[in-house]
């Protein structure tokens, strides 16, 4: 079974850089990851895009960007950045739902990662 570092890097994140933010503490990282799954900014972003509220969409995306950036979840981070950019300028665009779907897709990957990391953490070795 792969260890935390291997799983993390396999996902596409920078282990070294990220873990420095968590004092090298993997358990702490998992705690924060769990918080991310409970965070409602992704839901808020979806709702805001559905209703065409760019203001609210930006706020949610912006927060999400900060969080996932801190979590070092590079692929998801990139997906969020893609939507933050036009939202910051409040650009009226057709492709927001598509950009949002991309985020959702990345988010699922992170959920997968989370499960694996947790399993690994529970049964070390």
């Amino acid at each position: 079974m792969q260890n935390f570092k291997e799983l993390f890097e396999a996902y596409g994140a920078d282990y070294q850089d990220t873990m420095s933010r968590f004092m090298g503490n993997e358990t702490m990282y998992l705690k924060f990851l769990k918080m991310l799954f409970q965070d409602d900014n992704l839901r808020k972003l979806g709702e805001a895009i559905d209703s065409g509220n760019l203001e609210a969409a930006f706020d949610a995306a912006h927060t999400l960007k900060g969080v996932v950036g801190n979590m070092g979840l590079t692929p998801l981070y990139k997906a969020v950045c893609d939507i933050v950019q036009p939202l910051r300028a409040r650009e009226e665009r057709e492709d927001y739902p598509l950009l949002y779907q991309a985020i959702q897709k990345e988010f699922l990957k992170v959920e997968e990662l989370g499960k694996k990391l947790n399993r690994g953490n529970q049964n070390p070795g």
Binding site: R21, F32, L36, H62, T63, G66, N70, C81, V84, Q85
Partner: protein
């Protein structure tokens, strides 16, 4: 415990961030070194700030937040002085420079980007906190902590800069000083004093505005620099003072302003400010004068003082100070009894200098201690020389200044000085001024006790000049009372029998003190003093202070003719004469009274008359048996002689009403029917010699000087405090009414001292007329009066009564000016007076702000 301390000492960081994950993450990064407080949005953050204020060392702020966003929060924080100094670090996404610039322009100290880099965050946080703390230290020095004005040093610095930058402009430095500020602190507590200082600071800020700068120096000294644009008037400062008094709950603060006009740039800023302050101090205590400009007159006076100060040390070294002796004479036989050593300064260029000029200055700059020691030494040398020349062993008194009393080794120095010349300490009399007692009673009593134990004779100087207190006479172990000339000059003008002077003489006799009257200038004064039995006199009527050689010519060399000197005189007891046929009775009287009197026994009236004539006025009283065959004729003779002697006679005899009546008719002061106890006889003697009035009329006269306001004759504050001590439970409930009469200064449109005094007198009369006899009425402050009414149960009645009096006062002011306000509180004597005063001030203030009460 230890943990607790770390908690307290840990710096607090407030994290303002809407996202829980980010918050948690920052907490994880910071919590090892800081105590982390959290807020989800700007609104919550303000609540935390309100709670912790400046105890928060730093704020980490997310800009994009719901409820109140980061920018709004920043603006609010920076506008509030309570926490505008707390540095704010903004957390931004790394995706736009614009956020960062905006944040910085809103007052953020720095920014950190997401994703967080723990090392960078910790580093930035630490350096910003450090920077802020250093700046705060500088701030602390730049600004006076209490008032927020510039500190003294910073004010100097700023003035210097302004003067250099504007060499052609004229400026004024205006300084002020609050009179008796210590009294405010003392009477109302430090917080009240601080409030007053803040009010004064606010006045300065308000008046000076952008036209100058303001600073606070020591304690109650303020200063400002203004461009010279107008002429200053008394009214301008009076108005400012009124404003202060309005603000400060009408506590009658008096401020004096001094102005230094900056023309050239030759003086240092420190000097300029000093001069402005000196100008302010020069009008201290002058009623109705609120400002003074530093001018040539003041400058010359200061220069003169400086010149004296520069010369004094050298003058002492070169022996320019000379001892002059002023003779003291015994009144009884006009014989020379001693002298007071005085100092004259014979300056080689300036000539003889007046002690009236240099002594006060030396007292101020501390040089007096050195000069006194010099005088003691020189005086002892003179006394030693007299011994060699075979002159009589007169004693000479020297002055011991107030500052000397505080000298740790005063006793040692004096003992050493007399030993050096082989003199007994009793030859050197020490004159200690009465006012030293008022300053520090315990210290002076200890010192004087010590000196007396060593054998020095203590003379109480200037008795009657200041706050003469009978307590002091009781506490102070002295030998001689010196009455101040001014006091005597007033006294000799009054009818002899009513005088306080007579009472003091009796008191001195009672306490076995001798009395020296100094400053005797006329024959009339001398006769008065002779009549009342004063022992010694000193003054121009007899002789001026003279050089030692001249004094010596007054003395006749004589091998030890026992002359009574000032100190021996005091120790001589008064005579009590008992004329009685019963030897056993005389014996009992002697035993009873011999501790206090010299008791002379006679077995018939004729002998008694003889003895009285011998002892002259030394006889305190005569106890005369009317059962003696010549008892009544002796009484008659004494009555006739009494025009001169005024010796009270106590007649004794059988319990016969007719004899008693006859005795009293013939001039006996009292009649004691036999048999009687010695205790009752003792009481009669005390009564007829006048000492039963210890708490009587004459003492009241003396104490009045201390406890009464001279203008209104009401109790002064000190008197009220004394009177209040007499209040008992039966007197409660008491109504404590504090009256403030405003705008008195504006009678006649001007600060006319005379009409103000008249008005104050009238107010005093109104207060007395409208209160009961048992109530206490006091002039509590400049324009404040207190009435304490006994047994006034309901607050409502008390308030009504207070308002009624207010109206009467306003009526008496003739509607010209006065506005009278009253603060009334019910008082139970168990509560300290200071507290009810505080409450009454609050009530007064409330009434004032409601504009009620009249």
């Amino acid at each position: 415990m230890q943990r607790c301390e770390t908690m307290l000492s840990q710096k607090k960081i407030l994290v303002v961030e809407d996202n829980a994950i980010n918050r948690e993450m920052l907490r994880a990064i910071l919590s090892a070194e800081y105590e982390v407080l959290e807020a989800k949005n700007g609104k919550e953050a303000l609540e935390v700030l309100n709670e912790f204020g400046e105890n928060i060392s730093l704020i980490l702020l997310d800009i994009v937040m719901p409820v109140m966003d980061g920018y709004t929060f920043l603006s609010v924080v920076k506008e509030n002085s309570a926490y505008s100094a707390i540095p704010v670090i903004v957390t931004t996404q790394s995706d736009g420079e614009s956020d960062e610039v905006t944040a910085l322009s809103h007052g953020a100290a720095d920014f950190v980007a997401k994703p967080y880099k723990p090392q960078i965050i910790l580093h930035r946080v630490a350096s910003i906190i450090n920077l802020r703390e250093t700046a705060a230290m500088i701030n602390l020095i730049q600004y006076d902590r209490l008032t927020g004005l510039y500190s003294k040093e910073f004010f100097y610095q700023r003035v210097k800069e302004i003067l250099i930058r504007n060499p052609d402009r004229e400026y004024d430095i205006v300084c002020s000083d609050i009179e008796n500020f210590k009294l405010v602190n003392d009477a109302f507590g430090i917080p009240a004093g601080d409030r007053l200082l803040c009010d004064v600071a606010a006045l300065y800020k308000d008046r000076v505005g952008n036209r100058g700068i303001c600073g606070r120096f020591n304690a109650d000294q303020f200063a400002c620099l203004l461009e010279h644009r107008w002429t200053y008037t008394n009214d301008l400062f009076l108005e400012a003072l009124n404003q202060i008094n309005e603000l400060t709950n009408a506590r009658n603060v008096v401020m004096k302003w001094g102005i230094y006009r900056v023309k050239g740039r030759s003086a240092s800023v420190e000097q300029m400010c000093d001069r402005a302050l000196l100008a302010a101090q020069s009008i201290k205590g002058q009623y109705g004068k609120y400002f003074a400009e530093y001018n040539d007159e003041l400058r010359n006076k200061l220069l003169r003082e400086q010149a004296i100060t520069d010369e004094m040390e050298q003058a002492l070294e070169q022996g320019q100070f000379e001892i002059y002796l002023q003779p003291k004479y015994r009144i009884k036989d006009d014989s020379l009894a001693g002298a007071e050593a005085l100092v004259r300064w014979n300056h080689p260029k300036w000539g003889i200098q007046s002690p009236a000029e240099f002594i006060p200055l030396f007292e101020k700059n501390g040089f007096i201690t050195k000069l006194d020691q010099y005088v003691w030494d020189k005086t002892c040398r003179v006394l030693h020389e007299w011994e060699d020349k075979g002159y009589p062993e007169l004693s000479v008194s020297v002055n011991v200044s107030r500052a000397d009393i505080y000298h740790a080794d005063l006793v040692g120095i004096l003992v050493h000085t007399v030993k050096k010349y082989g003199l007994p300490p009793s030859r050197l009399h020490l004159e200690i001024t009465e006012s030293a007692y008022t300053e520090n009673p315990k210290q002076i009593i200890d010192t004087v006790n010590n000196l007396r134990e060593q054998g020095f004779v203590i003379e109480m100087d200037d008795f009657g000049s200041g706050y003469s207190s009978l307590n002091m006479l009781n506490d102070m172990p002295i030998d001689v009372l010196k009455l101040d000339m001014k006091f005597i000059q007033n006294e000799t003008a009054k009818p002899v029998n009513q005088g306080i002077l007579r009472f003091i003489m009796g008191l001195a006799r009672w306490m076995n003190l001798s009395v020296v009257a100094e400053g005797v200038e006329t024959g009339e004064q001398l006769e008065r003093l002779r009549e009342i039995g004063c022992d010694f006199v000193q003054g121009y009527f007899f002789a001026k202070p003279m050089p030692c050689a001249e004094f010596e010519s007054l003395m006749v060399p004589q091998g030890g003719l026992a002359r009574q000197s000032v100190s021996e005189m005091g120790r001589e007891k008064q005579v009590l004469l008992v004329a009685d046929e019963n030897e056993e009775y005389r014996e009992r009287v002697r035993k009873t009274f011999e501790a206090r009197y010299e008791v002379i026994e006679c077995s018939d009236g004729a002998e008694a008359l003889e003895k009285v004539a011998e002892c002259n006025r030394q006889v305190t009283a005569v106890i005369l048996s009317l059962e003696l065959s010549d008892g009544f004729s002796a009484l008659e003779a004494l009555r006739i002689e009494n025009c001169v002697w005024n010796i009270p006679v106590i007649g004794t005899g059988a319990a016969d009403p007719e004899v008693e009546e006859m005795a009293l008719e013939q001039g006996a002061a009292d009649y004691a029917a036999k048999p009687h106890t010695m205790k009752s006889l003792w009481k009669r003697v005390i009564r007829v010699t006048g000492f039963d009035c210890w708490i009587g009329e004459e003492e009241t006269l003396l104490e009045n000087e201390v406890y009464r306001d001279h203008l209104t004759s009401l109790l002064n504050r000190c008197g009220l405090e004394m009177a209040v001590k007499e209040l008992k439970k039966e007197d409660t409930p008491l109504a404590f009414c504090l009256f403030y009469v405003g705008n008195l200064k504006w009678v006649n449109g001007e600060s006319d001292c005379h009409s103000k005094n008249l008005l104050l007198k009238r107010i005093g009369e109104v207060l007395r007329r409208h209160t009961r006899k048992a109530d206490m009425v006091s002039r509590f402050g400049e324009d404040e009066f207190v009435v304490i009414m006994r047994q006034l149960g309901s607050e409502e009645t008390a308030v009504k009564k207070g308002e009624e009096i207010c109206r009467k006062i306003e009526l008496c002011a003739g509607g010209v000016s006065g506005k009278c306000i009253c603060g009334t509180e019910i008082w139970d004597v168990d509560e300290p007076m200071s507290e009810v005063v505080e409450r009454a001030y609050l009530a007064l203030y409330r009434a004032k702000s409601k504009n009620a009460g009249g």
